[in-house]
Amino acid sequence: MISPTQTAELDCYLRVMAHVFGGDTTHPESITWDTVPDIMPARLRDACGDFADGDIGDVCADSDRNRRTYYSFCLALIEQILKQDGWRLSRIDNTRIEPGTFGLSSAKGMDRSQPDTAVAVFGPPGGRQRLFFFFSDQDPTILADAAIKINENDNDRFEDLAVMITLSTRDMQARREASRSTAWKRGLFMAFDQLCERSAETYPDLCLPIENMFRDSVLSKPAPVEPARDKIASFRARILDHIVVGDKDSPYRKLRFEAPELAGIVPLQFIMSATRPRASAGGVREFSWQAFKTSFRDAPATYLKRPFGIHRAFHKGFPADYLTRLRLPRHVATILHPVRPDTFEVFFKVLPTGKGTREMQDLKKDMMIDMIGPLGQPFKLAKLIDQDIGEVHVIGGGVGMAPLVYLVQALRFCSVPVKAFIGIESLDHLRYRLRHEQHDLEDEPLARIHAAEGKDIHIYVDDLLQTGVERNNIYVSYDKTGDIRDIVPPANHMQGPISDLYRRSLTRHPFDKPVVAFTCGPPPMMQAIHEITRHVGIRLYVLMEKRMACGIGVCLSCVCRTTSGRSGYSRVCKEGPVFDANEIIWHEQENSPL
């Protein structure tokens, strides 16, 4: 026999499911025992044999109650996650939640100065920052008004932020897309499926049934659930700027481009980009007799796309340096999303032997370039952040630092402390200056801060400062010395290999919480870093770079010797590009130039 408590509990889960998968449009009678046992908490599963199919539909017939139960469920999960960071519920709109379900604690001390549309407000005790949670199925005009009010009151301080909870990741993407030009652009998003996944890792008891609900009963049917990773898109990106970084002979280049298709790219994933605008429909440059006659040598030089990591991603509505002010609770931040980023940067070095990068020197503003992405396994940052790590180290050699900067951007969003170690050939390669006559300074996020003061910009260093990394946590090593004044504190730089600087910094700063490190650069450098981390017990992830042809896992060109890979090789583009350093068979890595 099923007890009254069990009935009530069962009722709650059914209502959540009815709201998420039925909504207001389809009648919840479609929920039957064929699907229900999958979502049931184990303790309820055996006890509910007496229910008939029709009873379930009756339980969920009240769509308004279903919605309120769903709100309660979401907020209960959020409350659980935020509790870990010491945040608590400071205000709740009781009329919008279903009382007595999922143990949502009721708030005390309602703050009357806040907009009335808020469903729930969370904040740290004594802290000034607050998150206002709304649901995507609330009246859109009320949502927009609330977001505007919050933004206006906040005045760019990033102390109060509106969070919209959507029914699914796909739903969130659609709303983020639509929000780019509307009132919500400064707000954050959170998807219900991600919330469940996130909570299930932390609170298996509360969330396991919901997890299963997604996995078993829903994935087999058409449902609003997006697969975890974005599909690989092929698209044309518009070049926004091409910046020479370093002195006039410097081989370093920064390209900024617009590509809304890449909005789902996760740090450390990569793209493949053509090296020049496409000439013919077939993807192969049409033979041009003129070009053939004038310059046979240069006519059909490249064919394949080249792989690049993302150096930075920019979100419209958020100033480039917003992370210096934002202090999000770490645990919930992994599932918070700003509006979709649509502008990206890659940073690369023109190789004297490289046909592709040499061609890319000719790319100019407004050219349209073929790209595919996002590529590579998305690295699970949420899991990493869960481990209560003390700090993250990123160690980059040359252009290898570029993709790590985007990683830092994501880590800083989750308030993780970061130390960055930059290895560069010459200090002169870091410095650049932007001129009005060459660049659109309105568009350049770094220029707005520096050009006004007539100062030089330093690649990496200024990017990292913008993400909220403190200057004394940035280290620089170099082969060729130069003017390092004002870049980093004297103790943070040295001439010599980056691994020496890294080792030196570790002896100086012992750590008591676990430390995780990421490195990218030439294989011998990464191997040297691995030697260090292995001895001091730091978990190291390496970002491998290989020559690639397809980027999607079919050509087997970019393989890398690993202990985990089938046949002794892993595909960098598919299983990678991030590997646990212990998986890499270092003595079998080739150090040939890419």
């Binding site: 990773r229 599909k231 690989i232 898109a233 092929s234 013919s280 429909a281 077939g282 993807g283 192969v284 059909p300 030089a301 490249t302 064919y303 394949l304 796309k305 004297p352 032997t353 046909k355 592709g356 073929d370 595919i372 290989k546 020559r547 690639m548 042809a549 397809c550 980027g551 999607i552 896992g553 079919v554 050509c555 087997l556 060109s557 393989v559 890398c560 089938r566 046949s567 002794g568 090789y569 598919k574 080739e590 040939s592 130039p593």
Partner: protein
């Protein structure tokens, strides 16, 4: 397996199997599993394909050649992957069931170092293909990146004949066979005749041309394996000539009883049609698809437009240049 309706100007027949379009993936360029499903435009790609040809499968797993495995040359791609694959057992257990998701005829490319190994591999695949997912096999007697006792396998017509006979013997009756021919010969029609004598149902040509690239800045070879196979637009005229030659000189090809799959440097619909006019019934596309993920869709659309404009069909265009 193929649930598409095949009633268009693009439909062609390979033995008893109807293909919705004459476009195939060229072996080695589309994996052995369902990687294409990770692409946003995968439904369109699969819709544009007539069949899926896997990367080479061998009896035992092979780790492949050492790095660097690929280098770009002018309008070409030089590779020496070395048949890296997980072996036939893993293929039938894990990868083949996933290929069924494509809902396309699956053609498994098989490779071996010896004649009897072809037989054993073919037998193994038939024994373990419980769902009858395999529509055809492609017998690779021509990979330039593995050594067969120092002699390239596909050069000698009598060895080709024996290998093909060994591979075809265990096949179910509804499974057709293709033989992938090497262009690294003086006269390709000789080994092609050997393959036909061995019982092949069709010919795939061409595999890559042997090539080499030296990095003058380091003074060393680009490829870890020193030599590799050249693909891409650079080799297209070679492929066209070889398809033309087989169609011209081999009566079975001319009559259509042994269809030819034209492969080598196809990147546009015009390239595909060129092969068809030279005598190919269908075409394989490989390297171009690394450059342009939409290439299959673009070629399909191009061929459709061409056929409608000229009120013709692909089948009518097979070998049409020979009528002149």
């Amino acid at each position: 397996m193929n649930k598409k309706t095949v009633r268009s100007e693009l439909a062609v027949k390979l033995k008893q199997v109807s293909l919705a379009t004459p476009l195939l993936t060229a072996s080695g360029t589309s994996g052995t599993s369902d990687e294409i499903n990770d692409l946003e435009n995968s439904p369109q790609i699969i819709d544009a394909l007539g069949a899926f040809v896997t990367k080479g499968v061998t009896l035992e797993a092979r780790s492949g050649n050492r790095e660097m495995r690929v280098v770009e040359t002018r309008t070409g791609l030089l590779n020496s992957i070395g048949l890296q694959n997980s072996g036939a057992a893993v293929f039938v257990r894990e990868e083949l069931p996933r290929l069924a998701n494509y809902n396309l005829p699956i053609i498994v490319n098989i490779s071996a170092g010896q004649v009897d190994e072809f037989g054993r591999l073919s037998e193994f695949l038939m024994e373990h293909d419980h769902d009858e997912a395999i529509a055809g096999i492609e017998i690779n007697v021509s990979c330039p990146n593995i050594c067969a006792g120092g002699v390239a396998f596909g050069v000698d017509p009598r060895t080709v004949e024996k290998a093909v006979r060994a591979a075809c013997q265990p096949l179910r009756r509804d499974v057709f066979s293709l033989t992938k021919m090497t262009p690294n010969v003086t006269d390709i029609s000789e080994p092609a005749k050997g393959a036909i004598a061995g019982g092949t149902d069709g010919l795939s040509m061409i595999n890559t041309l042997r090539g080499m690239a030296i990095n003058v800045h380091t003074g060393s070879y680009y490829l870890g394996n020193k030599t590799g196979g050249l693909s891409g637009p650079a080799i297209k005229p070679v492929g066209i000539q070889m398809v033309h030659e087989c169609y011209r000189t081999i009566p079975e090809c001319r009559r259509g009883t042994v269809p030819i799959i034209g492969i080598g440097g196809i990147a546009t619909w015009e390239d595909a049609l060129e092969y068809i006019m030279a005598g190919a019934t269908a075409v394989g596309i490989g390297t171009a698809w690394f450059v342009n993920p939409n290439v299959f869709v673009e070629i399909k659309t191009g061929l459709e437009t061409y056929c409608r404009k000229h009120s013709t069909t692909i089948t009518q265009k097979i070998g049409s240049v020979h009528e002149i």
